[in-house]
Amino acid sequence: MFLHIFLNRLKCLIRDKQVMFWTLMFPILLATMFKMAIPDVVNLEKFEPIDIAVINNVEYQNNIAFNSALSSVSSKESSSDLMFNTKIVNEEEAKELLKNNKISGYIILNDGPKIVVKESGFKQTILKQFINEYLQVTSQYHNILESNPASIQNFISELGSSESYIKEVSSNNDAPNSSVSYYYALIAMTCLYGAMHGMKEVLSVQANQSPQGARVSLAPTNKLKVFASSILAATVIQILIILILLTYLRFALNLDFGNQIGYIILTAVCGSLVGVSFGAMVGSIIKGKEGLKISIIVSFTMLFSFLSGMMWLDIKYIIANKVPILSYINPANVISDAFYALYYYDTYTRFFTNIGVLCVFSIIFYLITFFIMRRQKYASI
């Protein structure tokens, strides 16, 4: 009996074109679109050296301190490690380069460094900040030299030994790539779309939800046993969908999730359990047509996914800072955070905390579903 129901429900779910589109095809399409769009997003986040020019006049040639400061942050060839791509030109050439937007600004040393720019912006601000800092340090240097020449050595050594309080750490031997966060949110969304399978299974056994449910309720079989078999079919389908998506992301889109495949599958399974149980709960609580339930599921899933950073990554961090509780009660965020923890952390504390939260979600959703479904008679049908 259990197997009979399970196999038939599998058939029903696989053949449901509408639900299969939303749960499998839509995430695959979205992932493909991410792949096409996100490299540009990554490029926006990466710092590119700023093209500038310096006027090659006598003062520039004689100002060793400025020369030295500029060359420490410049390179003659494009390099992402340095701040400026500096060209040494005469004033006419500099004006021409600026006019043609080949440079963001140029520096002219005429009784000290001055900047000429065409417009204000991010790059021009950096250039101005560099000049300000140079002027500040040289001014301090001259002050000390005039007031207390003996301490100049200390000042120089302090400049040379400024301590960094930021330490770079490795992350599971893989190079960090912020774009994967978008895919984590996408996987989380796909897990939650499993809600459609869960909802359909409730409809198929509840007498007050569908004629099919009424017919099942009239059979000489415990309704909860029928439901257990149906919901298992829904969970299996959902896990298969997530595995297909992960395979597609890894091998078709060449996305690197790190080397912890077991934990990734564990997260996908727990996420799928949450999705399916969420749908079962919505299906049992909300009275109304299937279309209404699908709309509610899609709306909540999209909202959860948005808040977990699928459309705009910063929202995830804003919520984590401003309303942290929302991060913990948003299942999409917990799923994506589990992936995030796997990718960025060497320890598993945060990962297993997320897995635990997902299990709790699933248990709560199933308990609510059970309390509603255990009714055997209805006030109205």
């Binding site: 009239l218 008679k377 209805y378």
Partner: protein
């Protein structure tokens, strides 16, 4: 007694859907539950099947109290609901097999039962079709097959011919009679009096949640005063005709509407010859003329004062 319902009361807030509803269905009967839409037929069926909560009353099926977990009783019940209850994602064969599988676990036995059900509703040519590809009539037949495949002793059909073409309707009605001949007790609810008259051995007429009359169709018709109804196609209305005919012995009412003169006589009076003589003597030209016995609609009309299809 296959079904026994006593003083069943079901309320939806202030509305009384079933008002001390009583019902007895004997083994081997085709029992018709006739009533207009909203009279409480489906509510009664859902209460009997333990799907709906009710406020008062007792329900026994196969002489045992009915309950949601009375699986031994449910095993012998087949239900064909008003709404088609099949899965769109399963083929005709798979649907019948799925629902039959909720009753019969033995695979071989089930295979045989499914085949018999498909033969019974004549869906052999559509076994691999999905429900969405079937016409309304074929879909209703599939709905019936899903309800009877496990060979139940009691079959409940709730308005199974709604929105069905005449050919499929006849097919369904013949099938019900065949199931009854094979030993099943049938409860058939409908608001189509012709169907109920055609197939039911006993009929209960329902209105506003109550049974207002029960009996065979002849017993029900004998409850009312009307014995004969004569209809005459008449193209000119003359006032004195109505008053003249009204004077004929036994005539209870004369009405003229839509070129049709309808004359009703008391039970025991046959006035067809008198009417024909009157028309001939007065040289009144007429079209068709026919006489008919009272219908269940007349029974319903006389008891409730309204038409069955109101």
């Amino acid at each position: 007694m296959v079904v026994k319902v006593e003083k069943l009361v079901k309320r939806y807030n202030d509305l009384i859907a079933l008002d001390h509803f009583n019902l007895e269905v004997k083994e081997g009967e085709v029992f018709g539950l006739l009533g207009p839409n909203g009279s409480g037929k489906t509510t009664a069926i859902n209460c009997i099947l333990s799907l709906l909560k009710y406020d008062k009353g007792n329900i026994e099926v196969f002489d045992k109290p009915m309950a949601p977990d009375a699986y031994d009783i449910k095993r012998d019940i087949g239900i064909i609901m008003q709404n088609v209850a099949v899965f769109d994602e399963l083929t005709v064969y798979e649907n019948i097999d799925y629902f039959c599988g909720l009753y019969v676990t033995d695979k071989e036995k089930r295979k045989k039962l499914v085949k018999e059900a498909i033969d019974f509703v004549a869906l052999n040519d559509f076994k691999k079709f999905y429900p969405k590809k079937l016409s309304g009539g074929l879909l209703r037949r599939l709905n019936i097959a899903c309800g009877i495949a496990h060979k139940p002793k009691l079959i409940i059909l709730d308005e199974p011919t709604v929105a069905v073409d005449p050919q499929s309707r006849n097919n369904i009605l013949e099938g019900i009679q065949k199931l009854n001949a094979e030993g099943a007790t049938i409860i058939y609810t409908s608001h189509y009096m012709e169907e109920v008259e055609q197939i039911c051995s006993r009929i209960a007429i329902m209105d506003k949640g109550k049974i207002i009359a029960t009996g065979t169709k002849d017993e029900l018709k004998s409850m009312i005063e009307i014995g004969e109804k004569i209809s005459v196609e008449l193209f000119t209305k003359v006032e004195h005709i109505l008053s003249d005919i009204q004077k004929i012995k036994g005539v209870t009412s004369v009405n003229y509407e839509n070129d049709l003169l309808v004359i009703k006589s008391k039970r025991g009076y046959n006035n067809l010859t008198n009417i024909l003589d009157y028309l001939k003597e007065n040289k009144i030209s007429y079209g068709r003329i026919y006489s008919e016995l009272p219908t269940l609609n007349d029974v319903f009309l006389e008891i409730t004062g309204k038409q069955l299809r109101d």
